[in-house]
Amino acid sequence: MSLADVILVIIWLGVTAYGIFGGADFGAGFWDLFAGNATKGGPVRTFLEKTIGPVWEANHVWLIFVLVYLWTAFPEPFVSIATTMFIPLTLAAFGIILRGSSFAFRKWAATLNRQRALGATFALSSILTPFFLGTVAGGVASDRVPLGNAAGDPVTSWLNPTSILGGVLAVGATAFIAATFASREAATAGESGLAEYFRTRAVATGFVVGVVAIGGIGVLAADAPELFDGLISARGIPLLVASAAGGVSALWLLFHRRFAPARLAAVLATAAVLWGWGAGQYPYLIEPDIGVDDYAASNPVLAALLGAFLLAGLLAVPSLVYLFSLTERGVLGDAKSKYEGSTESLLAAMLDDENR
């Protein structure tokens, strides 16, 4: 295993983290869109907002991380993808801008109609962004990105069977993960009605995504033969099995309302699909002849990236775990209950003193 392989594994960890944590945030937008009118959807939207509010910005870092590591470790393949995929990447970029800003603005909107407009922008772009990113993945996976400055077809590189499969799978997976996560969080918060609401949706989307994924293998056989060969190789098969096992057990566990292990199984199923793609394509970054070692940066650069990764592990990961644990325990979630030693109660005491 070369240093370039190590960096590639790190990049794939980033892809996985973005798929799962970023995916859960995107999926929250999916369910926001289908939550119904303002009266009926109000509690659902409020709950979703509460679950992703503290974490959604931090979850952009996975994407930034993947892009930066790709361009640093594999510069020429990176710019080949970025320039050929100019259209879907631009559309995804717009999705990211509109989604994040409308989400941040929505809670301060003055009227219900403005909230509706911002909410719809947030929700629609939450679906379009993973779709377009999925089409990029599909184009890369089906060898449609040649090496060079915008060398591939600007349209068919991302409008093709594998890309459509990638886009649909991406949207479906985000919806599935988000519903699974939300059902667990609702159950923990004692919101049994919401837990049921998300549970039925998790089961339904999980089933649909599973069917699409199985059908997708046929699409790959016809449209992306090299990836297909990789998938049915000794490297790919275990991951396919893991994904199927994860998906089936997630559905089974959801069905029996075992939310915590269901969440784990859903994560496993999604991660296995992403690693299956990686394993199926390895050792080629793009196009069958653009190999990992041939187009990697030199070792000092890769070593520096490894160092930055370790630094991130040392600083950011404990911080993130702390944030997740605070949101998980509901510590950051509920604004109404007050903690005695908090700054807020300190402020209240000061204001009391002043008024006396």
Binding site: A38, T39, G41, E49, V55, E57, A58, H60, V61, I64, F65, V68, Y69, W71, P75, E76, F78, V79, A82, T83, T84, F86, T90, A92, A93, I97, G100, S101, F103, A104, W108, A109, T111, L112, Q115, N149, A150, A297, P300, V301, A304, A308, F309, L311, A312, L315, S319, L320, Y322, L326, L332, Y339, G341, T343, E344, S345, L346, L347, M350, E354
Partner: protein, 456 residues
């Protein structure tokens, strides 16, 4: 037919440059707020708990909410930039992506820390122990200081490429990421931008309370809300001018054509004049300017008879568009000087009376100081970026050789301009809405769904 190919390629280059300029120019405002606002909030929060000052603590709480909205827009507009680096500039990121990758990776770590701790601080008001809650501000401030270094390092590298060799066949070898990161231009550029961020955040936040002051709101919240950010910006202002002077003098050897464009000097000469206003014609004549003899030489060399470079120090095809650079540079310097004057005005009044100025004109100037600081920062970026042209990597890669060959950049550039225009308007509207709610004593956002408070 080949002429047409040339025209299309030109249109693509212009559109790509324009898109990059809009994307960076938009993001930098939010980035500056992300660097400076936490410092202001930290000072207020510290004052609140140290001196049991509820007004200061209330300010910190409100500022955290405004900071969160600004940070969100900054986060998404910053994410887009990493797309655009590859989509628009393959000729930069392909050959040199590995050379300048490290600072971007480290910036990612800083951004991560900032995002995590902003969330903890914002949501921790009534849930974390007070001491711990205050401490969560420190990593936010630290991430701003570190993150701006990394980004400025990458930009400084484009001005002063270092940390690699070029083999006879043109390929890049011996890449040393640390040498690239600590390139010769980074120090002064970094300090200049960090101070700019503190000035932009300080004058902008103070400006909000100056407007309130003009409208007769003179309670303790408005007093402190003005004092804290204005003091920070006012301290940064004089230092900024000294740093700017160092940055300019550095250019004489490092980027002579940029210096010549900033000072609008056609020829390398001694006793070069400071050229106020004016434009340079295609024939190389400066018209419509007020010239003060010897001052440009003095600024560049500390000797009124010193020799400073003119545009003729490089061949014509390597010269930047001097008029844009000159105008933006002078605008930045003029605003910077005016802001320094405003800070001095305040300092003199405070020193004599230990109180805020009474003059309405002071408050009028203070009200627009934030916008002025933003204009100055943008002008500074135009100066350094346009002044580097025609190079994307100074002396090595031309911008025209680095641009993407994909079609449709005109469309995406137009779309992003409209989107950012709309976002700017909504951001201002949301912040005003927030201020109104605060003024009405309501510190919480609206709930979802129909609610008497929101469905009016």
């Amino acid at each position: 037919m080949f002429e047409w190919v040339g025209v299309i390629a030109d249109a693509n280059l212009t559109a790509a440059r324009y898109q990059m300029a809009i994307s960076l120019g938009f993001h930098i405002i939010f980035a500056a707020m992300g660097i400076g606002f936490p410092v202001i909030t930290l000072i207020a929060h510290r004052r609140g708990i140290r001196h049991r000052d509820p007004a200061a603590l209330q300010l910190a709480k409100r500022w955290a909410k405004a900071m969160a909205v600004l940070f969100a827009v900054g986060a998404v507009s910053g994410t887009i930039l990493s797309f655009e680096m590859g989509m628009l500039w393959p000729g930069l990121m392909g050959p040199y992506g590995d050379v300048i990758g490290l600072p971007f990776a480290l910036e990612g770590v800083s951004f991560f820390m900032e995002a995590i701790f902003i969330a903890i601080y914002l949501y921790g008001w009534n849930r974390l122990p007070a001491r711990l809650h205050f401490l969560t501000l420190l990593p936010i401030v630290g991430a701003g200081i570190a993150g701006s270094f990394f980004i400025l390092s990458a930009n400084a590298w484009m001005n002063s490429p270092a940390g690699f060799s070029i083999a006879p066949d043109g390929s890049i070898t011996d890449v040393n990421p640390l040498a690239a990161m600590f390139n010769p231009a980074v120090g002064v550029q970094y300090v200049h931008m960090l101070l700019a961020a503190y000035m932009v955040a300080g004058f902008t936040v103070a400006g909000v309370y100056a407007v309130g002051w003009l409208r007769g709101r003179r309670d303790r919240i408005h007093r402190l809300g003005f004092l804290i950010p204005f003091t920070l910006a006012g301290i940064a202002a004089p230092v900024q001018i000294l740093v700017g002077d160092v940055a300019t003098r550095r250019l004489i050897d490092a980027q002579p054509a940029k210096f010549a464009a900033m000072e609008l000097l056609p020829e390398t000469r001694t006793r070069a004049p400071l050229t106020l206003g004016g434009v340079i014609t295609d024939d190389g004549d400066v018209v419509g300017a007020i010239e003060i003899p010897g001052v440009a030489s003095w600024l560049g060399t500390r000797d009124i008879n010193g020799e400073v470079p003119g545009l003729d120090s490089v061949v014509p095809e390597n010269r930047p568009p001097a008029n844009v650079v000159h105008m933006s540079f002078q605008l930045m310097v003029a605003i910077g000087t005016a802001l320094l004057a405003l800070a001095l005005w305040f300092a003199v009044v405070w020193w004599r009376r230990r109180d805020l100025p009474l003059s309405t004109w002071f408050w009028r100037f203070a009200a627009v100081a934030g916008i002025a600081a933003i204009v100055a920062m943008e002008s500074g970026w135009v100066t350094t970026e346009v002044g580097r042209q025609p190079w994307i990597v100074y002396g090595l890669v031309r911008t025209s050789d680095a641009v993407t060959r994909a079609d449709g950049i005109v469309v995406s550039a137009t779309a992003i301009s409209l989107t950012y225009l709309a976002l700017s308007i909504i951001t201002v509207a949301v912040l005003r809405r927030m201020a109104k709610r605060f003024a009405a004593g309501d510190d919480t956002p609206a709930p979802y769904g129909p609610d008497p408070a929101v469905s009016r």
